[in-house]
Each structure stands twice: as structure tokens, then as C-alpha cells.
């Protein structure tokens, strides 16, 4: 038996009120690119869908002082059409251009992709490397700011409580970093990542700062903080990068699944990491 209700709140306050009222049954619905397949395949049977797709508080891509702020209901297509993203956050733009296919991108939202909590979430990897912060709100907890690197808990699980909605995602564009994003799947379009990786390096005489984010290589999308720390202050040398890739492999915990084995994913990660660093170095 499927038991669904649909509510269209007039504003954010009403959306939060509905979410609080229906607690565990509440599901915020924006693009519905995950919700509808879940209903269709019987994974989701009992829910109150709270339509947040038109709430103005959750839309828009703005420059706010040093930050870029995205509404959670921003679609992936809107990211691609944004001059701000294209010029100031090319790593996010690149990931958006590799997201599913142009048709899905018209519906899928950035907030939805994060809230669904997939280990292979394609928006999380560029946003992690940008060290994004997620702004969330509920009646019970008010407004919270959560660093994205603390947001994911396990496959399909995040720190969000059922009545909490993502309002906005914000990050500094980090113009003094050079970035590289890569997604590895079975085909170019519509692929669920076997592995995805984003690297950002601030380069002076040595590596001043490094950031590495990985998707589909652990129970959650994650930052490789130990590898980043190891690289900080190190010169760019082959032995250093080899050592860094060893540390990187010890930080991930890929599974074997239909898309690739654990061993394959480990080797792939090493190759993608070295490719990313070499690409960044050749960008000069």
C-alpha cells in the first residue's frame, strides 16, 4: 500500500512547519529525480512530499562578499548556465557538465543531490574540494551551518534531521588554487561514478595547500585530510606524489560492486590522483 500526500507550502516558514508536523513521514521534494524512482521501485511507500521547488529562499546563485551562495533548489542546469559558476568556480562547473545527462540536469538540484547522501553524489565532490558550508534550518534546531565535510554519515545518511531542510550552500571560490575534477564511469553520460575525484592545489615554491575530495570510494563522499596534510609544504617531486598516493589509498575504503571491484577502485584512485596533479601542474 502506498500512502503519499503532497503539500505545497507558500513560503519557507510553512515548509518548515509542515516538516515538523509530519516528522519522519516528511520528505522535501524539489527535482524528484531520486524520490520518484524510490516511489516507483517501492523503496518509499509512506511519505508527505513537501514541494520546495518554488521557494524563493532556496533559489539563486549570488555573490555575497567573499562567498558564492547557491540556493539548495538550484538545478544542475542552472549551475551550468551561470556565469558566476563558470568563471569563479570552474571545478563545480566541470562537475555539473559531467552530471547525468542534459535532460536530468534540468530537474536534479544541488541540495537534493547532497541530502540524498549517496556515496557517489556528484555534486558533493567539487563542493567538498571547495570546502563548502551547508546552511540548514528546521523549527526544532533553528538555522545551523555545517561544513560539508561533516555532513555525510553513511550511505544514504546525513546529519540532517527529518524536518531539516538545506537552505543554501556557500563557499569561497579560492581563486589562488588550481583545480582538477574527474569522474570515472562506464560511459560518459548517465553513469553512476565508479570513482570521482577533485584536487585543488595552491602552488608557490612548494605545495602551499592541497585539497582532495573523493566520491564512490568510501561509505561517504570525503576529503582526504591526511594526504592533504602530508602534501602541505612539500616540493612537487615524483617520490612525494607516490608517497601521497599511498596515503590516499589508506584513507579510502571502496567496496566491490556491479561497477567495479575494490582492487580496481584502489588502482583507479592512484591513477586518477596522479593524473589530477599532473594536470594541475601543466596548467601554469
Amino acid at each position: 500500500m502506498i500512502n503519499c500526500e503532497y503539500l505545497k507550502p507558500v513560503d519557507l516558514q510553512e515548509a518548515l512547519k509542515f516538516a515538523s508536523q509530519f516528522a519522519d513521514r516528511a520528505r522535501f521534494a524539489a527535482g524528484c529525480t531520486n524520490i520518484l524512482p524510490d516511489i516507483h521501485t517501492g523503496k518509499l511507500r509512506d511519505c508527505v512530499l513537501i514541494d520546495i521547488s518554488d521557494l524563493k529562499e532556496l533559489t539563486g546563485i549570488n555573490r555575497e562578499d567573499d562567498f558564492i551562495s547557491l540556493g539548495s533548489a538550484t538545478t544542475v542546469a542552472e549551475l551550468l548556465n551561470s556565469e558566476i559558476i563558470r568563471n569563479e568556480a570552474p571545478v563545480l562547473w566541470e562537475a555539473a557538465s559531467r552530471f547525468a545527462d542534459p535532460v536530468v540536469r534540468n530537474r536534479a538540484t544541488v541540495g537534493g543531490n547532497l541530502a540524498y547522501g549517496s556515496p557517489a553524489s556528484d555534486m558533493s565532490v567539487p563542493l567538498l574540494v571547495l570546502d563548502a558550508t551547508v546552511l540548514v534550518q528546521s523549527m526544532e534546531k533553528g538555522i545551523r551551518e555545517i561544513p560539508l565535510r561533516n555532513f555525510f554519515v553513511g550511505p544514504g545518511k546525513t546529519v540532517l534531521s527529518p524536518s531539516e531542510v538545506i537552505l543554501r550552500i556557500k563557499f569561497e571560490p579560492l581563486s589562488d588554487f588550481k583545480f582538477y575534477y574527474t569522474k570515472f564511469g562506464k560511459r560518459n553520460a548517465m553513469a553512476i561514478s565508479i570513482a570521482s575525484l577533485a584536487v585543488g592545489i595552491k602552488l608557490g615554491k612548494a605545495i602551499e595547500e592541497a585539497r582532495i575530495a573523493l566520491g564512490a570510494l568510501a561509505p561517504i563522499p570525503l576529503r582526504a585530510l591526511r594526504t592533504e596534510e602530508f602534501l602541505t609544504g612539500k616540493p612537487v617531486q615524483t617520490e612525494i606524489l607516490e608517497k601521497a598516493s599511498e596515503i590516499l589509498l589508506s584513507e579510502i575504503n571502496p567496496i566491490s560492486d556491479i561497477r567495479g571491484s575494490k582492487e580496481y577502485r584502489l588502482e583507479l584512485t592512484r591513477a586518477l590522483f596522479l593524473r589530477a596533479v599532473n594536470n594541475i601542474l601543466s596548467l601554469k
Partner: protein
């Protein structure tokens, strides 16, 4: 389940309907409006057979919650041509034999229509990218790409 009242335009005709909260736009088109040109392939947004236009953008109608189609303008493959006259895309598909079983054709046509609305003069690369989410299991992709290219050229002449 309590039904939701929606008003939408499909192929330039207005409809007022009552839909289920979990209903998909695909079901509304096929079952409420009997517009069976739009096909259900995978039902989970992977194959593109159910592609239609909403306000000019291509979407998978199996991924659109029917209540969210309220106030929207939908175009399906039935609305592509005008009366007895086929759309240049449809003419080009026939000329190039751009289908075998035909099941993906409505999705291919609508994704191509969305492309030509945004990029009237697409490169082959553009066409391949824009159609990348529509699967043809007969694998007749080359003819489809040739057809879209020719349709774009024909439409420039009009």
C-alpha cells in the same frame, strides 16, 4: 490518498485534472490524457524514452511529480508536428531511417527538439551530448544524429 488539483497546458490545450500525490507526469500523459506517444522505458530516469518538454526544456516525464506540473506548458511528441504536417525532425527521421523498433523515437525527437530550441545550429558534438541520455537499444545512433543534423539545416531555411 487525497488527490491534487492541477491546471496545465499540453500541446497548446489546457487541462484541469485531479492527480495522485505520487503520480508521475508520464502517467498523467498516458493514462489521464491518452497521449501514448510518450513511452515508458525504465521508469527511473535512465533511458530517456519518456522525454517531453516543460516550458521548452527537455525532462524525463517519469521523473516529474504530476502535482509539480501545475501551471506548466508541456509538449509531447503528439504536439511536435502541426496537424497533418510532420515536424522537420520527424521528416528527417523518416528520410534517414532513424529508427528500428521505434520505442526510443519519441524521446529522441523531444530531446532533439529541446536542443534545436537552444542551439539552432548544433555541431555533431552538441547533438551527441544532448541526446546522450536517450538510449536506443537497436543502437541506430548514427542515423539519428544524421537526421537531427539535416533537420537543423532544413529549419534554418524556413
Amino acid at each position: 490518498m487525497e488527490k491534487v488539483k492541477i491546471k496545465l497546458t499540453v500541446n497548446a490545450r489546457e487541462y484541469e485534472l485531479e492527480v495522485y500525490p505520487n503520480q508521475r507526469l508520464l502517467d498523467v500523459l498516458r493514462e489521464n490524457l491518452h497521449l501514448t506517444g510518450t513511452k515508458e522505458g525504465c521508469g527511473i530516469g535512465e533511458c530517456g524514452a519518456c522525454t517531453v518538454l516543460i516550458n521548452g526544456d527537455a525532462v524525463n516525464s517519469c521523473l516529474v511529480l504530476a502535482p509539480q506540473a501545475d501551471g506548466k506548458e508541456v509538449v509531447t511528441v503528439e504536439g511536435l508536428g502541426q496537424g497533418e504536417n510532420l515536424h522537420p525532425l520527424q521528416e528527417a527521421f523518416i528520410k534517414h531511417f532513424a529508427f528500428q523498433c521505434g520505442f526510443c523515437t519519441p524521446g529522441m525527437l523531444m530531446a532533439a527538439k529541446a536542443l534545436l530550441l537552444k542551439i539552432p545550429d548544433p555541431t555533431e558534438e552538441d547533438i551527441r551530448k544532448w541526446l546522450s541520455g536517450v538510449l536506443c537499444r537497436c543502437t541506430g545512433y548514427q542515423q539519428i544524429i544524421d537526421a537531427v543534423k539535416e533537420a537543423a539545416e532544413e529549419m534554418k531555411k524556413c
